[in-house]
Symmetry: C2
Subunit: 192 residues, 2 copies
DNA sequence: TGTATCCTTTGACCTATGTCAAAAAGTAAA
DNA sequence: TTTACTTTTTGACATAGGTCAAAGGATACA
């Protein structure tokens, strides 16, 4: 999905607004393993992924990486609270495949929010949608077993497992790689 | 904190806009244990708490209640994804103290979003703020021990523990009441 | 001011998941 | 196709936190 179609999903922009908005994004081709943002740095870009996969991850004191979120094509990617509150990012942002992305700076985005009421609405709807998705994950982590959390993930990110490593998925789900491997072994989808 | 001050924290509304906006809210005095929304029902009001505490909770198959969020005075309260996506609520909303709240329907709120660009901006900022808070809890649940999660909660909701029951807090933190009781017993604040 | 009800603590025991270590299976590079 | 490296699986063992049951404390109301 391209950026224009994505924007139109949320708000029916007049064509000339849409064109103006899109003209403020910059296309970037990035390679697998490229780090977009480092822990401690303020993230001042919002990215739209046209093609590819990325993740945000947190580095623990003991050096272990904890995946916080996956971002796939047709979605926005950012270190959310760093971008919106302009505070140092707790996370790294990294691409996991060769990808085509479009980026916009905080300044330009704010200008668009101020210029177009429609854009402000888009921003609001995008936030609430993301909020919904985060709440779903929260529920999974708060009251589900390891097995159920794995099932949740398959609905949130279908076939992500062919694209990213087991270790990344395990930490995303708040479990170890060994536990996830054992869950997969008994892989009849859970029936209650 | 009252509604007017809360709105002004996010956006500097012109006085007449502010007045118009506030006039669409309805004041309600509700008693302790009042249920505002039931699981399965679409939540079509957003509440502002002027005084009091509430919570959202989920009822598991085995009848156990799991607190999902606490809402205190000076904050908005709702079954977020039910209100914004107009789908049946997964949660109950309940007040835990006698409270003074202000409510607005989805229709009226949408009309205000459409009427005032400033209000749309307020909506966007409110969503991103809530998103940030939810992400913080997500992190706590995803990679912290029971003890650390308890410490996290004390920063997110200082002295909530004097106002709501231990069982509510425990389920909010994804642990049993017994575990929380044991954590509290050894209550020297964790030093790393 | 006693009685019923609810909330919190404690103890004994159990289990899901983590930890550590090594083997096996993939993947890439030469 | 051999070598080196990364990822996944497996096994043995450890432990945080859950479960169940009962005893204390609070609180409310009659």
């Amino acid at each position: 999905m391209n950026l224009s179609d994505f924007l139109k999903q949320f708000v029916s922009f007049p064509p000339e607004e849409l064109e103006d908005i899109i003209s403020h994004f910059e296309k970037e081709i990035v390679q697998k393993n490229k780090t977009l943002v480092t822990q401690g740095q303020v993230c001042n870009k919002l990215y739209f992924i046209e093609e590819g996969v990325g993740r945000s991850y947190y580095l623990k004191e003991d050096g272990k990486e904890i995946t916080q979120w996956f971002f796939i094509e047709g979605k926005f990617m950012s270190s959310i609270e760093s971008f919106f509150q302009q505070v140092p990012s707790l996370y790294y942002l990294e691409m996991l495949e060769d990808s085509t992305i479009y980026s916009i700076t905080r300044e330009k985005l704010d200008a668009l929010f101020a210029k177009y009421h429609d854009m402000e609405k888009f921003g609001r709807l995008l936030s609430t949608e993301m909020l919904t998705r985060v709440v779903n994950k929260l529920n999974a982590l708060q009251f589900q077993t390891a097995r159920e959390r794995y099932d949740y993930m398959l609905t949130e990110f279908p076939n992500i497992s062919n694209r990213v490593s087991l270790g990344h998925i395990a930490s995303y789900l708040g479990m170890t790689q060994e536990t996830l491997s054992r869950i997969r072994r008994n892989d009849s989808p859970k029936r209650p």
